[in-house]
């Protein structure tokens, strides 16, 4: 380039680019990793806000995540702090969860469910009453059947009024096994 070509305005414009700040990728993408739980190996997706999706670690995990969240899913260097311990004790109340993708109704169902202590169960009707929608028992069942973060939010502690266990994302046998582990009276 000869001196005639050197235009200070062009030189200065060309010096303006800069990298996006560190961490911006994690506002766009969700991270995932594997974690061991008493009921087997799980896949866990989480954002900067908290745990967003928990499912068995199998080939359905990524497609199910994509279908539900429509966000990029990238491997994480580590699992969220305290998750492995919470899965082992059954007490996930201190974990951060990201329920942004859930609707308002499901979010309130999940928040009420979260308050059920380890080793105790509540009927679906209790959850419905707790969120001020006593007639919405069936809708509570549906909201729990699609709980994005089972185990972290203990939907296995919600059972039928007649004492039978009802459905569970990981299957009814797993629900029974989990409640047995917690010494719940069922």
């Amino acid at each position: 380039m000869n001196s005639f070509d050197r235009d200070p305005v062009l030189t200065d414009l060309a010096a303006l680019p800069m990298d996006a700040p560190d961490g911006l990728l994690d506002r766009i993408a969700t991270r995932w990793s594997r974690v061991g739980a008493p009921i087997g190996e799980l896949a866990v997706a989480f954002t900067r806000r908290g745990i967003a999706f928990v499912r068995p670690d199998d080939a359905d995990f990524a497609p199910a995540f994509r279908q539900r969240f429509a966000r990029p899913l990238l491997p994480a260097p580590a699992v969220p702090d305290g998750l492995a311990e919470a899965l082992s004790t059954g007490d996930g109340t201190d974990l951060d969860v990201d329920l942004d993708a859930a609707g308002e109704f499901q979010r309130s169902v999940l928040e009420a469910t979260r308050s059920i202590p380890v080793g105790q169960v509540r009927p679906y009707a209790w959850v419905a009453a707790e969120i001020g929608r006593p007639k919405a028992v069936r809708a509570v069942g549906t909201a729990l059947a699609t709980n994005p973060v089972p185990l972290v939010i203990p939907c296995h502690r919600v059972v039928r009024t007649d004492g039978s266990l009802g459905q569970y994302i990981f299957g009814p046998d797993t629900k029974r096994e989990l409640l047995k582990r917690e010494h719940a009276d069922v």
Binding site: P8, V9, L10, T11, D12, L13, A14, A15, L16, P17, M18, D19, A20, P21, L24, L25, R27, I28, A29, A62, R66, A70, R71, P72, L73, L74
Partner: protein, 200 residues
């Protein structure tokens, strides 16, 4: 890898040689990390110089990449493989930018983005960084006062160095129009730079 590929229909298209498109076609999640790595600087620089605000540039960058990912979920593999990812992504960026402008229409115009100090490059002296910061701040201020079409064309051509042909397709205008926006914008920047006491 062949740069051009004949379709069954006999149509000839530019196909790939775009490693990011290949990665996306293979695995949309892993490919997204490549897309972000390849273009985060481009997208952030453009949105920063168009919006004039760092926080807006972060929001616009995040939104553009997320939209790009969601668009990819609706494409079949052949379409993904045939993408010219840079121009495609920049078209999305400009759409996001226009939507943002519409929602900001009643709010004040862009101000001085370089009010907050830039992180200092380790290899650069504090004095050089201060001088660079000052120049960048003044120039960004002058850019912010250009009419939108001139600012957009200049940012795409001279800040992030895209070819005029790509800019024409990204902005949806003829190459001649792009050149004329660039040339008018540059003369105004030069005049303003002189009246404001020079840049470099």
């Amino acid at each position: 890898m062949a740069a051009r590929q004949r379709h069954e229909s006999g149509r000839v298209d530019d196909v790939s040689n775009d490693p990011v498109a290949e990665a996306l076609a293979k695995d949309v999640d892993a490919g997204f990390a490549d897309l972000y790595g390849a273009y985060q600087r481009l997208v952030f620089s453009v949105t920063l110089r168009l919006s004039g605000r760092r926080a807006d540039a972060e929001d616009l960058t995040a939104e553009a990449f997320l939209r790009a990912f969601r668009a990819l979920l609706g494409y079949d593999t052949d379409r993904v493989r045939a993408l010219r990812t840079r121009a495609w992504l920049m078209t999305i960026v400009m759409n996001v930018w226009r939507n943002h402008q519409r929602t900001m229409a009643r709010k004040p115009p862009p101000g001085d983005i370089d009010a907050a100090p830039e992180p200092v490059d380790g290899a650069e002296s504090v004095e050089a960084a201060a001088e660079r910061h000052d120049t960048a701040g003044r120039l960004a201020g002058l850019l912010a006062r250009l009419p939108d079409p001139q600012r957009e064309a200049i940012v795409l051509r001279h800040v992030v160095d895209l070819p005029v042909g790509d800019i024409a397709s990204i902005l949806g205008m003829a190459e001649g129009t792009v050149r004329s926006h660039i040339s008018r914008g540059l003369s105004r920047l030069r005049t303003d730079a002189v009246t404001q006491g020079g840049l470099s």
